[in-house]
Each structure stands twice: as C-alpha cells, then as structure tokens.
Symmetry: C7
Subunit: 90 residues, 7 copies
C-alpha cells in the first residue's frame, strides 16, 4: 500500500531529535515551535514540485505545517509546498 | 439516482474506523480531529481532477473538510480538492 | 415575469423536507445547518455554468448559501456557484 | 446632469415596497435585511457589464450592497456587480 | 508645483456642502458617512484610468476613501480607483 | 555603500516638517497620522516602477507605510509601491 | 551538507549588531522590532530571485520575517522574498 499525495503536497517521515542533531542542524530548544526535518516518502502530483523535490530528500518545514497520520507505526505528515522551507543536501 | 459533484469536489463514503485500521493506516487516538479516509463515489466536473482521482480510489482528507449528506442510510461527504491530502493505493 | 440570475448564480426553489426524503437523500436531523436541495429555475449568465447546470436540475447546496426571495408565494433562493456542491441526477 | 458609474457599478433607483409587491416579488417581512429591487438608471463603464445589464432593467441586489446618494429628491444607490443577484424580466 | 498621483489614484479637491447641493446632488444628513464629491485635479499614471477620468471631472467617492493632504490652503484628497463610485456629468 | 531596494520598493529620506512646508504642501496638524513626504534615494528592481519614479523625486506616501532604517545618521524608509500616493513635481 | 531553500526563499546568517554598525547602517535602538541585516548563504530555486540576489549579498529584511534554524552553531534564517526589503551593496 502506498500513499500518493495530491497536488503540491509531500508525504514525510518526521526525523527524531537525535537524527536531526546528527546532521548538525539543531533546532534551538527555545524554539520548540520552530521548523522540523522530515524525510520525503512521496511527492505530490504537481510536476513542478516533482522536479524540485525527490523521494529520500530531507526537507525542512514549518512546525505547524502538515497533517499527521500514522502508517504501520510511523509518524507521517502530509506537508504543503508553502510550508516547505528548504531541501537539505548532504 | 446519482450525485454528480460540481467543479473540484468529490463525493466520498467515509470508511469506519475498523476499515481504516485494516489498511494499516491508523489515525492516532489523540488526533480525533485529524484526517479521515473515504472511498470515492463520484468525481467533480473538473477535468484535471478527473485525471488524478478515480471512482473507488481511497482518499485521505482533512477531517473538517466536506459537507455531510446521508444517501440511502450511508454517510457521505462532499469534499473539496483543497481538503484532499492524498490518494491511497493498494 | 422571469428572473435571470447574473454571472455565476442560479435561482432555485428549495424542496420541502418530504420531497428531499422521497429522493432517498436525507439530510441528518442533527445537521439542520447542513446542505439543502433545490430545483433549478434559472441559470446565471456565465456560459461555463450554463453547460454544467440546466433548468430543472436538482442541486445540493450549502445551507447558508443563497439569498432568499419570495416569488408568487414560493420560497426561492439565489445561490452562488461556490455554494453548489453537486447535481442530483435521477 | 447625469451620473456615470465607474467600472462594474450600476446606479439604481430603489423601488418602494408597493412597487416591489406589484411585480409579485415579495421580500419576506422577516427578511428586512434581504435583497431589494432597483431600476437601473445608468450602467458602469465596464463593457461586459453593459452587455448584461441595460438602463431601465430591474435588478435584484443584496440589501447591504450599494452606497446611498440622493439626487433631486430620489433615493439612489450605486451598486457593485458582486452585489447584483439577478435581472428581473417582464 | 504639481502632484502626479501614482498608478490608479486621483487627486481631488473636496467640494463644500453648498457646492455639492448646487448640483442637485444631496448627500443625506443622516448619512454623514456617505459618499462625497470632489473635483479632479490630477489623474494617476494608469492609462486605463486616464481614459475614463479627466481633469476637472466631478467624481463621487466613498467618504472614507482617500488620504488627506493640504496644498496651498486647500483640502485635497488622494483617492483610489476602488473608492470612486461614479463620474458626474453636467 | 548603497542600498538597492528589492522589487517594488523605494528607499526614501523623510523630509523634515519645514522642508515639507516650504513646498507649500502642509500635512494638517490634526493629521499626524497622515501622509508624509520623502525624497527618493533608490528605486526597486521592478522595471515598471523604475519608469515611473526616479532618484531625487519627491513622493507622498502613507505614514504607516515603510520600514525605518538609519544610514549614516539619516532617517531612511523603505516604502512599498502600494503605499506611494503621488509624485511631487516642481 | 548544504541547505537549498525552496522557491522564493533565501537562507541568511544574521549579522551581529557590531557587524551591522560597521557598515554604517544602524537600526535605531527604539526599533528593536525593525529590519535586520543578513548575509546570504543560499538562494531559493526561483530563477527570477536568483538573478536579483546572489550568495554573499547582504540583505535587509523585516525582523519578524524568517524561520530560525541553527546550523553548526550559527543562527540562520530562512527568509521569504516578500520580507526582503533591500540588497546592500558596498
């Protein structure tokens, strides 16, 4: 079973704090309402978005962006393009 | 008698919680106001939407999206495209 | 005397509750603020709308949509396209 | 002296309640904040509007639409297109 | 020294109440917050507006429209197109 | 060092009250929250704006428009096009 | 590891107050909520923005614009184009 986001949304797995740290990006403690990092599981149907964001990319997105769902025990979020701040490249 | 949604809306049958679970997608308990799943009964008149969503697709949509109606004893919702998060494929 | 709605509006006669039931569409009791059904008396001047909605169609529309008028003792509503959810076909 | 509405506005003379009744359109008593009828005195400079609405047409418009002016003792209103619901044809 | 309004604005001299009356347009007493009349001193840089409104035209505009300035002792207003209701022709 | 405004903004030096008076434009005392005058130091990157407003032009702008900065002891403002009312020509 | 802003955003390193002063631009003390200066580390994927803003440019942006992140101990901000006031050239 797969989930195909519609239009300009992406499906992401939210990375735990340790995982977020390991990449040397630290979201400040005082900023619990600040951006979070997620790994892209699926990109929406919008073609322009598909050129810019790929499966497995790590993205930085505004914390209150996204609708939560749980799939096979994992926390997933469906995030809109307007809430995606940046793509993290390693 | 059939119901043809207008423009960018879809008509869905909301799936019961057990049905939602069986597909291994679980909407968290703490998240009663989170997305729900519905099975598509009819797609709106918008052609672009008709290419992306088909009858019988299962879609994930924002809980407060949609206008409730009851047809022959079933709970149905008319949901706008902007409230549709993703298409679930099996 | 006829009433020609302007632009993307339609003129409808609101169907009584029994009439709404007979078609097997039931608006739930707890949902007095839910969608209503109307029979189309006239379609607005917008050409695209005229292709999609015809006189005598039954439409489902959001309850608080529409401006009430009374014509020869009948309750009529002028409803905007954005408040029309679906066309009911029999 | 004439008044030429700008863009998508029309200038109307609001019809008195008796006049409104005589045409068999009755705005319900409980609906003092409901639509009113006016006779068009001048149509705005917008060409598309000029094709749809003519001088002497009777139009139905949302009550709180329009800016009041008084010209030679008559109550006139300048009404925007978005507040015009329908054209009444006899 | 001249003032050239930018884009879709016009510069007007607000006419005194007597002047407004003399033209037989009377803004009702109960309507101190209703439209006012001004004489156009300069039209904005927008070409479409320049075709519709000319220097010396009298315009009717929404009272709370416009930003006040004083030039050589005269009350002037810079009024946006969206606040201009009509052009008064004599 | 120079400051190049982005898009449809201009950088202005706010003129002191005496300077504003000397040009015979007086902002009324009761209107401390009314428009102010500034001399243009730089025009944004928008080409259409560059045709309409030039360096050294005096512009009239809405008081609460603009973001304040201080450069070498001078009060400067970065003002958006939508807050610019008029260009003052001498 | 690099961060690639999406669409019309830029990634900036906020300059400390001394650094801001050294360039002779002083944000007034009374204006702690006024614009700040940042050095551009990466420009978003939008091509038009890439023509106007380059890596290493110093930009002036509205204080409450931007989402904070911390990368290797540095305060970084992801700032939207609409919050960028000007480019500082030396």
């Amino acid at each position: 079973m797969t989930i195909q986001p519609l239009d300009d949304r992406v499906l992401v797995k939210v990375l735990e704090e340790e995982e977020q740290r390991s990449g040397h990006i630290i979201i400040p403690d005082v900023a619990k309402e600040k951006p979070r990092i997620g790994q892209v599981l699926a990109v929406g149907t919008d073609e322009d978005l598909q050129e810019k964001i790929k499966v497995n990319d790590k993205i930085l997105f505004a914390k209150y962006g996204g609708e939560e769902i749980k799939l096979n025990g994992e926390d997933l979020l469906v995030v809109q393009r307007s809430d995606i701040l940046a793509i993290i490249k390693e």
